[in-house]
């Protein structure tokens, strides 16, 4: 069945450099530097990436960072907690906007 998302496209990501090679090179250099060991370990960065992948709901990133988290030594317990962090922030972000709703409602209500 044809779908918009094809798992094989993940490995073809570098092809995005066709027609704009300099921009792609800059992006991939930057990307590599971001995920290198720094003040945060590679394992910690992969867990953050996994959480963000769920926030942006990118199937490519979820695939890539699930594998990466396991390879960097994380386990399902930690990875599931990371996804709950995504969920808490997403849910919390919606809920906290309820304050706007309340402010407006209170302003125009008797």
């Amino acid at each position: 069945m044809e779908t918009y998302y094809n798992p094989a496209d993940l490995n073809r990501f570098p092809e995005i450099g066709k027609d704009a090679p300099q921009l792609a090179a800059k992006f991939f250099d930057y990307y590599g530097a971001v995920f290198a060991e720094g003040a945060l370990s590679e394992r910690e960065k992969a867990l953050i990436a996994l959480a963000v992948a769920h926030a942006v709901q990118c199937p490519y990133c979820i695939d890539a960072y699930t594998r990466s988290c396991l390879e960097k030594g994380s386990n399902l317990e930690e990875m599931t907690e990371a996804v709950h962090v995504t969920n808490a922030i997403r849910g919390g972000a919606s809920l906290v906007h309820g304050m706007q709703m309340r402010n407006i409602a209170e302003k125009i209500s008797m």
Partner: protein, 316 residues
């Protein structure tokens, strides 16, 4: 591309260097049947080294110099002649290692075996794939986690892995699935922190191992649909720098019947040392440096990535 072709492409050849280690595989009998086991060891297997072969191994250790002798299996604890093997080998090598899956060291023989290991100053290499109980049991079976942790505590009580005791307890970790291990240094740090924090357990060093696509692990890769990607991953991560340090260059591996191989993985597929079946009782001198090591594509597991200890190798 095959492993041999990949070596050729990098203008490399896999040949022996000076032999320093004898690895003694006492057989396929094991109390566990782990899903990653390249030897397909388990409780239903009956291959075990007999008393005569044990003596032939000891005699070989006496006539030739091995800096390290490494006893493995199966579960070495299940070999009835284990006390004789240990006491026979002990005078002939400065460093005698024994592998354990920890659960075979539990039970009613536990104290006796731990005393035997302590009295002979063995270095214990204990398998613990992960600091996560679910990952450990997914690979090794239900109930393994608790038993392994209890045995680690007993070993600490006997002085193994405790600083200043002179008794070493190393941990062998490996991934619980179709992926490669994390960096050894980081894994060691996490195991040290978590085992100490949660259970008060200490150990000497940790070694990360890549799962080799043979035996039961190969079958699991196949049935779970992971085989092509796993093999591709190993090949893509071929690291030419790793070839020089491969443990087969300095190890002789002997099977339960006394036949010689260059490593335990070649033993699993019947690839003999120097290409033909040689028996340890016939070995009058150590292999010459430069002798070619027979390989197959499972060798890609030993050359994948950087920073791993070569699979199976426990360096001093």
């Amino acid at each position: 591309m095959t492993f041999e072709q990949t070596l050729e492409q990098h203008k490399l050849a896999l040949v022996r260097s000076a032999t320093t280690t004898l690895q003694v595989n006492v057989g396929r009998l094991c109390n566990l049947a782990c899903r990653h086991c390249h030897l397909e060891a388990g409780p239903h297997r009956d291959e075990l080294m007999d008393a005569e072969t044990v003596e032939e191994v000891i005699a070989c250790a006496e006539r030739l110099d091995f800096a390290t002798i490494d006893i493995t299996g199966g579960a070495p604890e299940l070999l009835p002649h284990l006390p004789r093997l240990i006491s026979g080998l002990r005078p002939h090598t400065p460093r005698l290692l024994i592998r354990t899956n920890l659960t075979a060291l539990a039970g009613n023989k536990s104290e006796q075996l731990i005393n035997l290991y302590r009295d002979n100053k063995l270095t214990i290499v204990a398998s613990l794939p992960s600091i996560n109980s679910a990952q450990t049991e997914a690979q090794r079976g239900n109930g393994v986690w608790e038993s392994a942790i209890a045995t680690l505590k007993l070993l600490n009580e006997a002085g193994f892995g405790v600083e200043g005791s002179g008794l070493k307890l190393d941990i062998a970790a490996n991934p619980s699935g179709a992926f490669l291990p994390a960096s050894q240094a980081e894994t060691e740090q996490r195991f040290r922190r978590e085992l100490e924090r949660r259970y008060g357990i200490s150990f000497s060093s940790l070694f990360s191992f890549v799962n080799v696509p043979l035996g039961r692990f190969h079958r699991w890769l196949e049935s779970s649909g992971n085989l092509p990607d796993y093999l591709k991953n190993l090949k893509t991560r071929f690291n030419p720098c790793s070839v020089q340090g491969l443990m087969c260059r300095s190890t002789l591996s002997v099977d339960w019947q006394g036949y010689l191989y260059d490593c335990d993985f070649n033993q699993a597929v019947g690839l003999h040392h120097s290409g033909t079946a040689h028996h340890i009782s016939q070995l009058q001198q150590l292999p010459q440096p430069g002798v070619r090591i027979p390989t197959q594509d499972h060798c890609f597991a030993c050359t994948a990535g950087a920073g791993f200890t070569c699979t199976g190798s426990i360096d001093a």
